[in-house]
Subunit: 112 residues, 2 copies
């Protein structure tokens, strides 16, 4: 077993970004310059309430920007990643890569 | 933009396994045949209460086994992955790899 005091990659994961639904929101927003609430909800298969709650958390952490307006006569909410959000997602991806690499190594060590 | 109806890799993530602390517990347990509560708590930098709560959730999902005994005179709790837990962790790692690949692709498409 590794006895060095190197921190476990788990410790690099940020709860705000790592949480399943929030990671999904950030992932979808990273693939477009902007996205409507409705498109995001359908892409991720979420309810309005669930999506709305996680959007508030991401907005409070300044990881996304929300602006409201109209598409024709219908009210519409647009969402986009902030620069801070893009950086946070990159850090999460890098941490996940380190975790996956470590787990794949452990797997090949323990497999018969 | 991709307009195919292929499901987003986010949808493959299982909340029980993906949650940050629980993923850390499963990761550490995957690297040893067995681990004590104290070692796990120290490795992950958690409080007894936080670790205990997540252990109950993993035990109820049959992803880990918990057994209590004594080490000398001191009570001690041992934890280990079940076969189901090892499979669930593998599925999470595979889903994370697909998500990371997709995000890395999006990143290289949007970067200047």
């Amino acid at each position: 077993m590794n006895t060095e005091p190197s921190p476990h990659p788990f410790l690099e994961l940020d709860e705000v970004v790592h949480q399943r639904v929030r990671l999904g929101i950030l992932a979808v927003l990273s693939e477009a310059s902007e996205c409507t609430f409705a498109v995001l909800r359908n892409e991720l298969g979420l309810t309005d309430g669930n999506l709305g709650g996680h959007i508030r958390i991401l907005e409070q952490a300044a990881l996304i920007e929300v602006h409201k307006g109209y598409e024709g006569r219908r009210p519409c909410t647009w969402l986009r990643l902030t620069r801070k959000g893009r950086t946070a997602l990159r850090q999460e991806v890098a941490a996940l890569e380190r975790l996956v690499t470590r787990l794949r190594t452990a797997e090949s060590d323990t497999d018969p």
